[in-house]
């Protein structure tokens, strides 16, 4: 028989691990299904595992490395008795209580875990361009992780697609290694915050290619360039590059919950007002999976705390 847990937390970024710290301190002995390693943000530790220096997380005046911050979160959750499993939930059934969660074979008759309450904190993962040759050339010049791969592009001419804060941060990181980093952006203005724009604009190694959309990645064994199209005139051309980094935003990891929990049209999980309550009583959501507005480590952590308190109070009320 699968064990019945008071709280099962699905996902282990800042939201999930904060929920784990709070529920563990409340003696609810949370089980955290951390996820499995990947290089796209959908993994134990969440998106911060793919970053370098985090400068805006309060309490670290000199900044802290993203992976180190997440290892600290994890150690803190474990200190209070949270149990962490490095596995991915493959199926959930929230149609009756206790809730059922499967790990491994989703078609197995018996669920792996039973839960009185569930906190969903599966986060978001990086979007890809979805153009020809992109997937084939991952690891051969196409990269989803600037911090992992910037090192290999020393003195080269590379490109990064995107116009948000992540794209600016990655462009500046890549400029430490590359000869030039060209930001390829679909529009003629950036979505990035003023401070990040100013910093990137001031970097002499960063070049700009506005109103430009990548239509194909070029290269046989490794990336040699990209085919692009001007989004205003429609004119096609090519750019010579040896590396292409993609930072065009994220998609919430909600595939597991389709048909079980209400989603917004944007794909994010719907929660009630300022609470973490989802459309199913006893299932709570926190972090980027339900936040298409702020999407910061600190707001994710804050919402993880709220979900833990919501879950704790709800469990108390059940007894």
């Amino acid at each position: 028989m699968p064990t019945l847990h008071d709280v099962v937390i699905i996902g282990s970024g800042p939201a999930g691990l904060t929920a784990a710290i709070y529920t563990a301190r409340a003696s609810l002995e949370p089980l955290v299904l951390e996820g499995e390693p990947s290089s796209t943000g959908d993994q134990p530790g969440g998106q911060l595992m793919l970053t370098t220096e985090v400068e805006n997380f309060p309490g670290f005046p000199e900044g802290i490395m993203g992976p180190e911050l997440m290892l600290n979160f994890k150690a803190q959750a474990e200190r209070f008795g949270a149990e962490l499993h490095t596995v991915r939930a493959s199926r959930v059934d929230f149609s009756e209580r206790p809730f059922k969660i499967w790990v491994g074979d989703p078609d197995a008759e018996e669920p792996t875990h039973l839960a009185k309450s569930v906190i969903v904190s599966t986060g978001a993962k990086a979007l890809m361009l979805d153009v020809p040759n992109e997937t084939r050339l991952i690891g051969h010049g196409v990269s989803t992780c600037a911090t992992c791969d910037g090192f290999f592009f020393r003195d080269q001419h590379i490109g990064i697609v995107g116009g948000g804060d992540s794209a600016m941060e990655e462009a500046m990181f890549l400029a430490k290694f590359a000869e030039t980093v060209t930001v390829i952006h679909r529009r003629d203005e950036l979505r990035a915050s003023k401070i990040m724009q100013d910093r990137a604009m001031a970097n002499p190694k960063i070049k700009w290619r506005w109103n430009t959309q990548v239509t194909e990645v070029l290269g046989d064994q490794s990336v040699t360039g990209v085919a692009v199209e001007d989004t205003v005139t429609g004119e096609a051309s090519t750019m010579e590059l040896t590396g292409l980094f993609v930072a065009i935003g994220h998609r919430p990891n909600t595939d597991l919950f389709v048909g079980q929990l209400d989603l917004h049209d944007s794909g994010y999980l719907a929660v009630e007002g300022r609470s973490s309550r989802t459309s199913v009583e006893g299932v709570f959501a926190c972090g980027d999976v339900q936040d298409d507005v702020y999407r910061q480590a600190i707001t994710a952590a804050g919402s993880g705390c709220a979900a833990a308190i919501d879950a704790e109070r709800w469990l108390e009320a059940q007894e």
Binding site: E36, S39, T51, P67, C145, T147, C148, F152, S222
Partner: protein, 106 residues
């Protein structure tokens, strides 16, 4: 790190990779790579479980850039599987254990 894992350097790489009768998995990694850290405990487990059937080795790309360059490694983690000294498989990016074992062909 598991005792079963072999640490490679530019000086020892060829000898270990060519001199082994078992397949040799070389994990190209670096200290600053988050996904590399995530798969480290998985590779530890695989090394212990496959001891005698396969050699699991790690190569730090920061300290040994010429080897990474020689095999065209442009993304980490990259795992190359050598059989009889030749590259037989190439796995790029962090993955869960079951998928990793399957893709490495172990």
């Amino acid at each position: 790190m598991s005792d079963a894992i072999v640490t490679l350097t530019e000086a020892t790489f060829d000898e270990v990779v060519s001199g082994s009768s078992e397949p040799v998995v070389v994990d190209f990694w670096a200290e600053w790579c988050g996904p590399c850290k995530m798969i480290a405990p998985i590779l530890d487990e695989i090394a212990t479980e496959k001891e005698g059937d396969a050699v699991i080795a790690k190569l730090n790309v920061d300290e040994n850039p010429s080897i990474a360059q020689r095999f065209g490694v442009m993304s980490i983690p990259t795992m190359l599987v050598f059989r009889d000294g030749e590259v037989d498989k190439r796995v790029v990016g962090a993955k869960g254990k079951a998928q990793l074992v399957e893709e490495l062909g172990l």
